[in-house]
Symmetry: D2
Subunit: 366 residues, 4 copies
């Protein structure tokens, strides 16, 4: 299970299991001199933290992050930053027959086949709990971006829950933090609340679509051909648990467009090129244009549900399973801060790469 | 522009520009002892080759591949395999004002901003011509897979052209190679032919959705957390020119499903687990289940069209541009063999990784 | 300060500073199913631990290692193994003018120039304390090697202290652990004891040469051209603090030999090739031959000495410095287990690589 | 045989065999805007070219390098630069029993065991001919360094041939290019000429020590802990064919020194720190100090000699072998430009890394 690292120069390695003593992120390549402390990271972890309302798992974890290395006198030193989160809610519970049965839709069966290991304690390494470490690393990336790319802002929100989308006309960034779904459409949020409450009571779950927008991204970030900015964003999003699709800009809808509709026309503004539209989602040829970067990803519904599902055991017997426990009816909710964190890491990484490879933008316009 | 390499152990570095003397792929990590010759690679290049019918660019390139290293007495030696394709159609033409104007929807402007270079000869490195090298490398990957995973089959086809999809009820693998669109639905192919002919005559272009299915993939491939099989497939697909979205299994549609609908139930077959459905697209927790792997990606419409579009010049003057020349009305057509090639490379890479990291599957069922 | 990771498939990232809360190693890519516990790692850390006799620094650190992840029910799971060592001896002391002056021979000045950070607390990240994390990771590598390459043995020892070498005729592996210097020549060890005691009292220090021998290494390990087994061993050794030279087999002495003297002749033994000599140090063309692998490296004398040395301050003033504190008169002593650990990591890594790339040796002899 | 690439951001992948159609280097990550043409590269290849006097192999290769990609209108574009050298002297010869016998001291036997391939044509990939590609890549690195670090100079020379060293008092850089050995001591060069002529006539060969000095290297290059500047230099040197040892600064001799002798004292000069000596070889804690970087490596004697040597065949029979053909009596001679090339690549790579990770030196002195 090598390959727990992502990034080229800003390299994040996450470690730890759902019910082990701790988990965390080893962050190598953070630039020196970035002001950081635990409170600055904690704000992002608190956003992802379970148990904050009835729509997320009732597991209680303070998710308190500790900085074990790489920071001295309030700033990063350039050495690896170790971010550790202790697991406090490792309640000794009766896992019952979970250790023998594979949960449909979970990684239980593939991990078993590949590794010969059945860590039945909440999914072990494949648990979405791993994303807490990503959020911590993303917090550090944000702090570095604040210094290297002032004005850059990353905002995630949910644009679809199950069959219910948002009305873009109602989009209001101010309401995102005001509802449990990070929904930018206050009306939709109300609909979702009723919908999800019903689902939750029925013991079922539902998928979602998350969108992350990055504003103020400098033009020139990206490293074609195989480390394109959109390639790395796609990989970052797809690596998040339960994600099944990734879109940039128009995304799947681009397939239905004609060239005369899709290409964003270019005009000259006072400070450089401006575009008449943003079908591209801020990226052309793998390199940022300076427009908003728009990333969307679809999260499948949690596979842990109260409905009985047919499955097999390690010994190959056919059986059924009901996944009791503390689960999210819409795991997409907690994927919002995770998506933001991944975007922050990718942007910082490419900013460092760009600086290294070219020394910054070399071509002037006007 | 570092980062022209993909893969962990089977590493492909492509090089070359649209109108330079040659382009190719340096393939490092191909297992030794794989039977290969130029003809075996050429069959795949011929599939991608332009100018084969009126629906692809009329640029004439034989795309003849040469093996310059890494093969001795008909088999790979384990050393790097250099695959070179000479550019023969470097016609001296009048690029006119192209060298000064940026083509909307193209990488011209971002490459200029980042690198300070304007390779106006057909897009230079950002041209889709680069994908010829990927197809050559993919041919080598297929030859290796034929030995390491006999029975594994990779098939690409187009499932949507512009607004027109296929009818899954008509799906017939036998018709794929019998129409110019790699369309598995003979009826849809006829519709597409008329639609695209009209578009072509009007000087416009259109997007498409490509699907690639891999059958016979052994369970156990994939390396969580950040080199998941789906993560690497998503990156591979997104790195292809003009791709704006990637889906695995249900893809975006998973967002609208409930958990009780989405998780694939498991039964026991004579040779191991079998699944009642394949919403997962053959991957759970980043690891292959043994089911068909199903990858889809959306290609945006070619931005080179005959309609005048507003743009700017390097000196910042506002102007208009019409992209004359030999272009594809639906570049998605030629993306089909490219998608297959990328899937072949990723699967071989993960097969080698899995062998290295675990020695093969370690957990038995039954 | 990215690049705190080494290894291709068995990847070790160390983190932590001399006087921070903790340090450790994040080990990604350890094969699943390896039996391991903290006691098995502790034995190697105890070998490196300071303060065990008068010849090593009197800093008191229990160097107790904790496994925070990647192990379940006594075996590795294939997930990242986090090995943490808490720093207990962070005594609040008067660093005096150390925070302003650069210590000659130390990384103080270069870290300051590069990072703009002066972690004056015992050298921070550049302290040899970082090697405790390597030893922990090496312990894990040894446990994996015990399963994957039974019979493989790695033994380190000191062959030169200052001007005093050993007599190869006296070489006795049994005496290595019986003296404070890991010296395989009991007579030399006595000489060294007197020599070093005098040096220590005079406040001076001295260099050393360490040799590490690996027996029972299978033929076929190594990945030419740039990840040759000797290349990776050289890098591993040179990355250890204070190392200034690395030799394989004959090493520097090979320069003085003629071809007729140097090439090891080959005969056929009952189980495969045997060699008449081992000038090659067990490696030909970057690949192991099956003979003993012999690696040597030279460690410079500790630069922390009681003699006054001329230096400058951060503000550029010329001054002098005496490095008081708890230092090693011969830091080479503690480099012995570190060298062993690095060799273990490299061998395991190449064993996994070889398995992945070729599936094991493919050519038979006889 | 993956891992034919070195470098972090300036990544060089060499490919090709001794007697295949061509060999070359795929260079990814060269900064854009570097002025380069084939003649600029050819000068370095000519330095390494065989057959220039009686002391190097009489194989005749023009070693003409072609630039196939990555350069447009006389400057690098930032895309991969493909450097190809065609093999012209692939004379059809009688390899006789070479295809069955393993040459002692060569990689024949280990390549066979690992890959199951016996490329008997001059050693195939393990031939020193591969280093021609390194020299081409090094030429490109030098051109980039000329722009990014003006004043940086890299000079290689031989300091020992067999048992005969140089007298440092006679060191004269001006005489290096004036003798066939790149010897900086004119008197030694005369001794060597007689010595080597005798050896050559007797069909024997001898080892050598090469030193490469880099002047004008900015302080601050290097990326601890595992990509230290000296670590990467050691790996680069050890990856060269036949190299058995690597030294930085004092090298092995550092072991015999006391701390009071070894640490270089620091004074303040008009432009920054100056050092009273350079035992460190220009590197402290893995980071350049601004002093001359001094790297030495030992090359073993060519194993291809006219003396009969005992060996075995693929089928395990004991036999003898005499390696006829066109070989170097002292392969170290041609290792001089190779060493220079590797140093150029490493320095450029670290310059780009440093720029990316820190944006340049952050700490001021004075």
């Amino acid at each position: 299970m090598s390959m727990n690292t992502f990034g080229h120069l800003f390299r994040v390695t996450t470690w730890g299991e759902s019910h082990g003593p701790a988990l965390g992120a080893t962050v190598d390549g953070c630039p020196p001199g970035v002001a950081i402390d635990e409170a600055m990271l904690q704000q992002w972890l608190d956003k992802r933290k379970p148990g904050q309302n009835k729509f997320t798992t009732q597991r209680r974890e303070p998710d308190a992050v500790r900085i074990l290395s790489g920071v001295f006198e309030g700033v990063t030193t350039g050495t690896p930053v170790q971010l550790m989160i202790e697991n406090t809610d490792q309640r000794s519970k009766d896992y019952g027959d979970i250790s023998e049965k594979f949960r449909p839709g979970h990684a239980d069966i593939t991990y078993w086949q590949k590794y010969g290991i059945r860590d039945y304690r909440g999914g072990g390494r494949s648990s979405a709990r791993e994303t807490a470490a990503r959020v911590a690393a993303g917090g550090l990336a944000r702090a570095a971006l604040a210094e290297l790319a002032p004005g850059l802002e990353i905002t995630g929100y949910m644009v679809q829950m199950g069959p219910h989308g948002i009305d873009r006309a109602n989009f209001d960034e101010a309401v995102i933090a005001g509802n449990p779904f990070w929904c930018p459409d206050a009306t939709a949020a109300e609909t979702w609340a009723g919908y999800l409450d019903d689902l939750r009571k029925s013991g079922d779950s539902v998928g979602a679509v998350i969108e992350v927008t990055a504003r103020g991204v400098p033009a020139g970030l990206g490293a074609p051909i195989y480390a394109k900015l959109d390639t790395d964003l796609a990989a970052a999003a797809m690596s998040i648990n339960a994600v099944k699709a990734v879109e940039i800009g128009e995304g799947m809808a681009a397939a239905a467009l004609r060239g005369s509709e899709n290409a964003d026309e270019i005009r000259m503004g006072p400070d450089g090129p401006i575009y008449s539209s943003n079908h591209a989602g801020g990226i052309l040829g793998g390199i940022s244009t300076g427009q908003d970067i728009v990333l969307r990803f679809a999260v499948k519904p949690t596979s842990s549900i109260l409905t009985s599902r047919r499955t097999i055991t390690k010994s190959g017997e056919e059986t059924e399973i009901i996944t009791k426990g503390r689960h999210d009816p819409c795991v997409g909710i907690r994927a919002v801060p995770v998506g933001e964190a991944m975007v922050a890491c990718v942007l910082l990484d490419h900013l460092l790469l760009h600086r290294g490879q070219t020394g910054g933008n070399r071509g002037r316009i006007g």
